[in-house]
């Protein structure tokens, strides 16, 4: 669901095809019949934006029919935990949870979502699952109205088809079997995307499909190494290894929708935590760390990071000085919100590395307008993409209508180099780091992004070398020596040393491991750390990203290079973070006593003779903690988790069916319509996600009201195998252009007949934001849905075209709006509404 894997991830889809050959059942639930559907055993057409009803009804079915994996659920999830008495559900408040603040449109007070706790802070439980405040009973009430009838009415999926999906999932889960969910931006690019993924997580926990071979939820990443870009992040709200970027201030009231806590990482949003500021390293650790579970190691990871970035300066004031060097967030600085800031003239300069907002980002008309407000912009790319050309070219059909004299932005277009022209690593969906070598030098002045950033950094350091201003110390203190010693016979001699970068990410000893000789090291001469378990909070170790620690455990042993494809779990191929572990939370692959759930699904188990965990993978559990270990009252850190708590990153060691904290839009997934929808919410009067960021005050972000008859058609967007995203790497290649030369819209014969649109001719798609033209692909692969007696049409649009490149076309993102998901600030490009008519744009 939420993924067109066969088209967008054809190489990974090889594994799906192979699994199918071995007997796996492949189900594709999607608004449009794609090449993925063609290979599936079962294709279920559904309405874009209705996923939580589909999944919620499965959750309802599992709970009511006793079809969940009882022993797994009872022992490994928080199903028995009691929630506070003052918690109110969406069933009580007509689509809202307790703690909602009308004025700010946020859940300002999430304290009622917390557990009932004893005097030691330990959660109270009822293993009989009878207490009305236990998660089991709360979920039963929450999903009571998510029925097969509701699925028919909201998703347009017949109950028979839905039942086929449920039946197959249940048959293929449990002790002997497991099922996996694959999703991609079909889920994330919705105003409730995080909650859809949560719903799948709940379903997988109930079926016992987490931490076990063949199970899990696979987030199919959209680009090579985009997983890497969140691990060693390019995101505004994360430091490396999912440690949050500190905030300038945390207030009790997340006073705006742009509150800095917009993070994918679970954050303590309890009021008690919110009033803590993050002005010092200790305050930051108190606010963001956890006392219980693995995250209690947080102080070691942040201190080692500061050590890696600031060297000696990190030792001043026990790390506090260097902590102050870190920029603090003062709001939502995500890409899209920054575009608005740019439009308002608050952003003067812009660096773009492999990003094409003028065609690839939502509401690209607004994006291009925003670029006009910049003083300068640096675009590093392979070709002159739309963003680099926006000052002299514009959208079809009038690309030359732009007058450069009216645009003040100074654009620096610098040639970049693709993967074959640089070495480094990729981290993809499965968290696997794979190293690749440079094959050729880039031509002419083209250089890798790493080269560019490194030399920019060197020049900045030169520029500020003599400054005595305190504000310039972060640049002065930054460790920045990646000079390559082995030049390797290349034409370009000043490329930085990627192995040194990897060594910093892996971590190294600043002081000798035994700390006897008093010697201190720098990156270049330091011994490598073998893994994150040796990281310390006293400044004796440095580590650029704790989760990657162990990838380069000793000189000459870069495990990302490893290429031994043998064995059941391929432990000798590449390096999967953390600790080369292939399946996270794999303690859950054994029963509470530590025995495999079944011989067939044997993975990790407790070896009673050797008194340790063993198996086919690296155990994701303290190696010697026996299944019968029980914590003492008041224990902290990992000692607080029992031998049956597999989810070690959670303070209670349980898989969270109910999320007592960490989400900005509720502890349980709830169906809301998309921000634009042809139908009203059948479950609540609250139509769409009440915590989403709507930017209602902006005149340029016009939305069609829910149920607007002027825009009655649902649109969803997707990728084709033949092109890559907005086309910056593919629309310059004649071989690929010949395969998919033009933007087209896919629509059903019924809709085409209704609107007088002919197959192969042009049609116009319009939304309140703009209009585009596309060729009409009238196909039975799109089918009208019958919802509650009413026919709802859907159309599908790829988004690979723009006004640059060797083939051009309208920009699909000119149609999309700027309503952002509250947790991660992502746009809703997968479900919005439009109207269509035959013809071309004037």
């Amino acid at each position: 669901m939420g993924s067109n894997m066969g088209e967008a991830h054809p190489v990974a889809f090889r594994n799906v095809v192979m699994a199918k050959e071995l007997g796996a059942k492949v189900i594709h639930v999607d608004p449009h019949f794609s090449r993925t559907s063609a290979l599936a055993n079962l294709y279920v057409p559904t309405r874009a934006g209705s996923d939580i009803v589909f999944l919620g009804a499965i959750i309802h079915y599992l709970l009511e029919n006793n079809a969940y994996f009882h022993d797994y659920v009872l022992n490994y999830t928080n199903v028995a935990t009691l929630v506070r008495e003052d918690y109110r559900d969406t069933e009580d408040l007509d689509g809202l949870f307790s703690g909602y603040d009308e004025e700010t449109g946020t859940y300002a007070d999430q304290s009622s979502w917390d557990y009932q706790r004893d005097e030691n802070g330990q959660p109270l439980t009822d293993p009989t699952l009878q207490d009305p405040r236990c998660v089991f009973q709360i979920m039963r009430r929450h999903y009571a109205r998510y029925t097969p009838e509701m699925v028919e009415q909201v998703c347009g999926v017949s109950r028979e088809q839905w039942m086929q999906v449920v039946q197959t999932l249940v048959e293929n889960s449990g002790r002997e079997r497991t099922s996996a969910i694959c999703y991609a931006v079909g889920w994330t690019q919705q105003s409730k995307g995080v909650q859809i993924i949560r719903a799948a997580g709940i379903m997988q926990l109930l079926l016992g499909n987490i931490g076990r071979p063949g199970g899990g939820i696979l987030a199919l990443r959209g680009h090579a190494s985009i997983q890497g870009s969140t691990d060693v992040p390019t995101l505004y709200d994360l430091l490396s290894g999912y440690m949050p970027q500190p905030s300038a201030l945390l207030s009790a009231q997340p006073h705006t929708q742009d509150h800095p806590n917009a993070t994918t990482w679970g954050k303590n949003t309890d009021i008690q935590a919110n009033i803590k500021s993050e002005q010092t390293l200790q305050e930051y650790i108190d606010a963001e760390g956890e006392k219980l579970g693995w995250w209690s190691n947080f102080p070691s990871y942040i201190r080692s990071l500061l050590q890696a970035w600031y060297g000696d300066a990190a030792n001043e004031e026990d790390g506090n000085t260097s902590y102050r060097f870190l920029p603090k967030m003062i709001g939502d600085h995500s890409h899209l919100v920054t575009s608005y800031a740019m439009l308002d003239g608050q952003v003067k300069g812009y660096f773009l590395f492999g990003q094409n907002p003028a065609a690839g980002s939502t509401h690209s008309t607004m994006q291009r307008d925003a670029l006009k407000q910049l003083d300068w912009m640096v675009v590093r790319d392979l070709y002159e993409i739309e963003t680099a050309a926006f000052w002299h070219r514009g959208p079809v059909p009038h690309p030359n209508a732009v007058d450069p004299h009216t645009i003040k932005t100074e654009v620096f277009f610098l040639p970049a180099s693709p993967t074959t022209e640089k070495d480094g690593s990729f981290t993809n969906t499965q968290r696997l780091l794979q190293w690749r070598d440079k094959a050729v030098d880039p031509p002419g002045d083209a250089r890798s992004d790493l080269w560019f950033v490194y030399h920019l950094g060197k020049r900045l350091k030169d520029l500020y070398a003599d400054s005595t201003e305190p504000r310039d110390r972060p640049i002065q203190a930054l460790t920045w020596d990646y000079e390559r010693e082995d030049l390797g016979g290349w034409r370009i001699l000043d490329d930085p040393d990627t192995q040194l970068v990897l060594k910093e990410i892996n971590g190294y000893y600043v002081k000798s491991p035994d700390q006897q000789d008093g010697k201190t090291y720098t990156l270049r001469d330091a011994p490598h750390v073998p893994g994150f378990t040796v990281l310390k909070s006293d400044g004796s170790t440095a580590c650029g990203s704790w989760i990657y620690s162990g990838v380069y455990p000793e000189p000459g042993k870069n495990l990302a290079r490893a290429r031994n494809g043998e064995g059941y779990t391929f432990l000798g191929w590449g390096f999967a973070w953390p600790a080369n572990r292939r399946i996270l939370y794999n303690r859950a692959s054994a029963d509470p006593q530590g025995r495999p759930w079944s011989e067939r699904k044997k993975y990790i188990w407790w070896d009673e003779e050797q008194k340790k965990w063993t198996g086919y993978d690296v155990p994701d559990f303290p190696a010697n903690k026996a299944p019968d270990y029980r914590p003492q009252a008041g224990a902290t850190g990992m000692d607080a988790l029992s031998g049956t708590d597999p989810f070690i990153m959670k303070p209670d060691g349980k898989g969270w069916l109910f999320a007592p904290k960490g989400l900005k839009d509720g502890p349980l997934p709830t169906h809301y319509e998309a921000a634009e929808s042809p139908v009203h919410n059948a479950l609540y009067h609250t139509e769409s996600n009440p915590a989403a960021k709507y930017f209602k005050d902006r005149a340029d972000n016009r939305l069609a009201p829910i149920g607007d008859e002027h825009y009655p058609i649902v649109v969803t967007t997707y990728r084709l195998t033949e092109h890559h995203v907005s086309g910056p790497m593919s629309r310059w290649l004649p071989w690929l252009n010949a395969l998919q030369p033009s933007l087209f819209a896919e629509l059903s014969p019924e809709l085409a007949a209704e609107r007088g649109i002919k197959h192969g001719q042009w049609m116009i798609v319009s939304t309140p934001r703009g209009e585009i033209e596309a060729r009409a692909m009238v196909t039975r692969r799109m089918r009208p849905l019958r919802l509650n007696g009413r026919v709802v049409h859907q159309i599908g649009l790829p988004f690979h075209w723009g006004f640059q490149g060797r083939v051009t076309g309208s920009i699909t993102n000119d149609l999309t709006h700027m309503v952002l998901e509250p947790n991660v600030s992502i746009e809703e490009a997968k479900a919005f509404t439009c109207n269509v008519r035959p013809g071309r744009l004037p």
Binding site: G6, V11, K25, N41, L42, E160, Q164, T168, W735
Partner: protein, 309 residues
């Protein structure tokens, strides 16, 4: 460095000294299993890239996702897309599922059923995809039609056009019953088609399309092994209820000897634009010659009778 002097007589006789052809190797070919094709067209691109074939003008055809349309002088792999949606709406499965729902409801719990009973191997709605290519026929009509000897069989028993000998007459183009071989009318005027990556095979590596195929829909190997594998595969698909699956060109029924590049199809050959019984033009030579001679004789006799006076 001493230059070896060739005796004038030896040099003169050199024209009769022909290099021995390479020793015959096991016949190689393709088995294209359309039940595994995901329509990614990686084979088309890999083929163009390896063989440095130019791209056709970008033209949106509206024929499903097929904008290449035909095999040709510059297109040696071509992926077809055949939409078969709404063929069997409803179907027999619904009743089965209804029964199970009733059962689940009456028992109050989900019935324990053996895994994997409900779903067919393929949807009833289908989007068939197939990567088409030169068939490298055992009795290749193009080979038989070539008057210059430009088309030969290689040591891998594949059909190969020697570009330096081809004179562009185009006889092969009309002879091919599959519409594979074409003359490059925009370029060198010569006939071109898939070489089964002869150059790569010489170096012991598989053809570019097979290498690029992510799902092993295109399989390269020795023809005999591929045929055995194909028959096994067909049996498996039949077992899985895919009764429409069939092999095309794997046995000798097609073109009196079979194809070295053959296919597993999920529908009638005609659905894939493949002839059920491709004609072999050379079979017409004897009857056509006979009738030509007969006609000549009759006309001769007639004219003798006519001009007898």
């Amino acid at each position: 460095m001493a230059v070896e002097r060739v005796h004038p007589l030896k040099e003169m006789l050199g024209v009769f000294n022909r290099e021995l052809p390479p020793a015959a190797r096991p016949a190689t070919g393709f088995f294209t299993d359309t039940s595994l094709c995901i329509g990614c067209k990686a084979c088309e691109v890999a083929c163009r890239q390896w063989n440095q074939l130019s791209a056709p003008d970008p033209t949106w055809t509206g024929t499903s996702y097929d904008n290449t349309q035909l095999l040709g002088a510059e297109t040696w792999r071509h992926v077809l897309f055949i939409e078969q949606i709404g063929r069997a709406d409803g179907g027999g499965l619904q009743g089965d599922i209804q029964g199970r729902i009733a059962e689940a409801k009456s028992s109050g719990a989900l019935p324990v059923t053996p895994p994997g009973t409900a779903l067919p191997f393929f949807n009833t709605d289908r989007w068939l995809m197939m990567s088409d290519v030169c068939k490298h026929c055992h009795n290749a009509p193009c080979h038989e039609a070539c008057p210059t000897g430009a088309i030969i069989r290689t040591e891998f028993d594949t059909v190969y056009v020697q570009q330096d000998i081809c004179n562009g007459c185009g006889y092969c183009v009309v002879a091919c019953p599959f519409g594979v071989i074409s003359r490059d009318d925009q370029g060198d005027q010569m006939a071109h088609k898939c070489t089964l990556c002869y150059d790569r095979q010489k170096d012991g590596i598989e053809p570019a399309c097979a290498k690029a195929c992510p799902t092993d829909s295109i399989q390269f190997g020795e023809v005999e092994q591929l045929r055995a594998h194909a028959r096994e595969r067909l049996g498996l698909l039949h077992e899985r209820g895919l009764s429409e699956a069939r092999l095309y060109g794997e046995d000798e029924s097609v073109l009196e000897g079979g194809l070295h590049s053959f296919f597993l199809l999920l529908d009638e050959p005609a659905a894939y634009n493949l002839p059920e019984n491709p004609p072999r033009p050379s079979n017409n030579v004897v009857p056509a010659s006979f009738w030509t001679v007969m006609a000549a004789m009759i006309f001769g006799l007639l004219s003798i009778l006519f001009f007898k006076e």
